[in-house]
């Protein structure tokens, strides 16, 4: 991968993602709160919609390009893009350069934006070099991670979220052997191959139920929706939380003075 320019000291343009925008606006606000807490200036380009991944993953590249062009337009003034999703982040980082590889009009801009896009935890830990938010959870919680597939395998995310949570007072991390197993979402896969996806989800839910963790932390609201709505369907406690919400909870009170 090309060595990326440090994002330190630059204004951040938030790419909130379509799902956070419409389903989890509070998670978007958590991202803003954490970044602001770190002294980062945040803006929100109003022209943003979606990265185009749903169409891209379904094989509809023409449609994906149309939507991706809107992304390129919306973020034309961005110096740094931060997104609370490993999956959407990977779409911009890895697929945009491919999608616009031979495009004389949009190719350069696609490559530029790919290079300045950071997933939320990656931005804080690798970009800003911060692992301790000086935060404290209101009550003690045991935390397990669900390493969302695209963040884990396309962006190499795993340690950043653990470092940030590990430094929160009152947070105890428990490892389980299911952190890297796909929950079965896969976007349109969950609809097109509903039974297979459902079988994968059922196994994931069994593992969640066996886990002693109070909360399962993930970096993608898509996986979160899949698992929580699956738990709900089975009458079980939805306990999957986005990392930004947990961190925002942590920074509301500072660490206790010893």
């Amino acid at each position: 991968m090309v060595e990326r320019e440090s994002p330190q000291g630059k204004r951040v343009s938030l790419f909130v993602t379509c799902m956070v925008d419409m389903l989890y606006p509070d998670t978007g606000m958590s991202v803003v709160d954490v970044l602001t807490h770190l002294g980062v200036e945040v803006d929100f380009p109003m022209g943003q919609t979606c990265c185009g991944q749903p169409a891209f993953n379904a094989g509809y590249r023409q449609e994906a390009r149309q939507v991706a062009i809107q992304f390129l337009k919306a973020f034309k003034d961005a110096a740094v893009i931060v997104t609370p999703s490993g999956s959407c982040g990977a779409m911009v980082r890895h697929e945009y350069p491919r999608l616009f590889a031979d495009d004389p009009l949009w190719g350069d801009e696609a490559r530029r934006l790919a290079n300045i896009t950071w997933e939320f935890t990656e931005f804080i830990v690798d970009g800003l070099g911060i692992t301790d938010l000086n935060g404290r959870l209101p009550t003690p919680q045991t935390i397990a991670f669900h390493d969302s597939c695209h963040g884990l395998r396309l962006l190499g995310l795993k340690q950043a979220s653990r470092a940030l949570v590990g430094n929160l007072e009152n947070a105890t991390i428990v490892e389980w052997d299911n952190s890297e197993t796909c929950c079965g979402f896969g976007g349109l896969f969950s609809v097109k191959m509903a039974d297979v996806s459902g079988a994968m989800l059922a196994k994931k839910i069994d593992h969640i139920e066996q886990s002693e963790a109070d909360a399962i932390i993930t970096g993608d609201v898509s996986c979160l929706t899949h698992m929580n709505n699956g738990l709900q369907k089975q009458g079980k406690r939805p306990r999957v939380k986005h990392i930004a919400d947990l961190l925002a909870e942590g920074i509301r009170d500072g660490k206790s003075v010893e």
């Binding site: 606000m29 509809y60 149309q66 796909c182 097109k192 709505n229």
Partner: protein
């Protein structure tokens, strides 16, 4: 072999509700996966990853020089006394075997494990010519007894429980009843031994072909490959043209990643480097050795963006690691090669229109690429195949229309926001079961709930920013 891949969704659903299959596949894949992890990274993560990258480079080098390496292999094999034949498709491959059998008056054949002969349907061709054929790999023997097909590249009976294997051996092979797996294996071994001694021809596959020396390389654990290739008068090896690698040194690397990835072993119990028929000063070995290089669609891939699919060394690691394979087992995929690599090469070798669900049989979790010993980018190829399907007009009318409408609404921030407002208003009337193709979602999860106010509304309220859209 007949291709039933277009039936994937229905077959998968049946497999998901087959309790025995679920027990067996879950045990087999998880055991295979954890053994692989342990063996691959026994000397640390970095060492394991370095082995993978070295192996990947070797296979790609082999593919880049494939035509030259095949010629070199042929010349060196011929110099060693191996007769080399070429088959453009299944029919020609089987025809070659039948002609060799006729030439040497072959009545009975023993086979060691070979996936390429599953492609060509060789057993049926031999049986049709009244030649007895017996699979001697324990798993393949059980597959043959059960008149099934292998459901895994390395572990053909991963879908079967110990109990179902026992019942099959009692019913079809007159095994004295026992629950002891060792006793079952001993029974199979004794049965097979008589047949080895009586066979006229041994048929094997080939894990690698070494161009530099003209050697056929085979790895195995049961000893059946050694008996198959050394006891009968005639040995025939059928290998895909992509199996050729350049040097012995290349083989030294690949033989480190293949057993580690396949069975979690540092090396297999047996490794064979077969260089030719019995020499005058040797006491055993076949009188005649043939190699049949099988194309069967491979050269059609060679000049495409899918060429890296030919780097596959058939270790099965992507099957064991794949959550879809774990849920469905191998038969649902409908052809010879199941799992993620099967989802790629089945459409490529048999035609995308004959395997159109397979590129979608993946959540794109990326585990297959992560565990592949030669780092094949399977998710990338699945995405490309999906695109090919759409380009062929095989996206499906509902999806075509849906995607067009979605793009139209999402490329415009104004329409997108209106849609968001509408969804927010409708959030209280979301049905418990969604309509049309979305019904699959609510079969297993509750409907997603839209927020009363979108993030952009909250943002505007907080910052007082006007709604300026670019």
């Amino acid at each position: 072999m007949e291709n039933r891949s277009n039936n994937f969704i229905a077959a998968a659903q049946i497999a998901i509700h087959d309790a025995d299959l679920q027990t067996a596949v879950s045990f087999g894949t998880h055991s295979g996966f954890s053994k692989r992890q342990a063996a691959m990274f026994a000397d640390g993560e970095e060492h394991g990853q370095a082995m993978r990258q070295q192996a990947a480079a070797i296979k790609r080098h082999g593919l880049n020089h494939l035509p030259d390496l095949l010629e070199q292999a042929e010349a060196n094999m011929q110099a060693n006394g191996i007769q080399v034949l070429w088959a453009v498709d299944s029919a020609e491959a089987n025809q070659h075997v039948l002609e060799i059998a006729q030439r040497h008056n072959v009545q009975s054949v023993v086979k060691s494990k070979s996936m390429v002969t599953e492609e060509t349907g060789l057993n049926h061709a031999l049986e049709a010519a009244s030649i007895e054929v017996l699979e001697t790999d324990l798993g393949e023997y059980i597959v043959q007894l059960g008149e099934e097909t292998p459901s895994h590249i390395v572990v053909p009976i991963v879908h079967k429980t110990k109990e179902s294997i026992r019942d099959l051996l009692i019913e079809k092979a007159n095994m004295p009843p026992t629950d002891d797996t060792e006793a079952m294996a001993r029974f199979a071994r004794e049965t097979l031994r008589q047949r080895f001694l009586a066979a006229d021809m041994g048929i094997s596959g080939g894990n690698f072909i070494l161009a530099e020396t003209g050697s056929i390389c085979l790895v195995s654990n049961e000893g059946n490959a050694r008996l198959t290739t050394s006891l009968p008068r005639v040995h025939v090896a059928l290998v895909g043209i992509e199996k050729v690698i350049a040097t012995v040194a290349d083989y030294a690397t690949l033989t480190q990643v293949l057993p580690r990835s396949a069975t979690g072993q540092t090396m297999t119990v047996y490794t064979h480097l077969i260089n030719g028929p019995r020499q005058p000063d040797e006491t055993d070995g076949p009188e005649h050795v043939y190699v049949i290089f099988v194309d069967n669609g491979r050269s059609d891939i060679y000049n495409t963006d899918y060429v890296e699919a030919l780097a596959c060394i058939r270790c099965g690691a992507c099957l064991n690691g794949c959550p879809v394979y774990q849920a469905t087992g191998g038969h649902a995929y409908g052809w010879v090669y199941p799992g993620p690599i099967g989802a790629v090469i089945t459409p490529l070798l048999t035609g995308l229109e004959n395997a159109s669900p397979l590129p979608y049989a993946s959540s794109l979790c990326g585990m297959c690429k992560a565990v592949c010993p030669v780092d094949i980018d399977i998710p990338r190829m699945l995405l490309d195949l999906r695109h090919d399907l759409v380009e062929m007009g095989k996206g499906g009318t509902v999806w075509n229309a849906g995607m067009k409408a979605w793009a139209l609404g999402t490329k415009s921030p104004t329409i997108f926001n209106l849609g968001g407002h509408a969804a927010a208003l409708a959030r209280h009337i979301m049905p418990k079961s969604l309509p049309g193709p979305l019904k699959g979602w609510t079969d297993y999860r509750t409907s997603p709930k839209f927020a009363p106010k979108s993030f952009r509304q909250l943002w505007q309220e907080r910052t007082g920013e006007a709604d300026e859209q670019s």
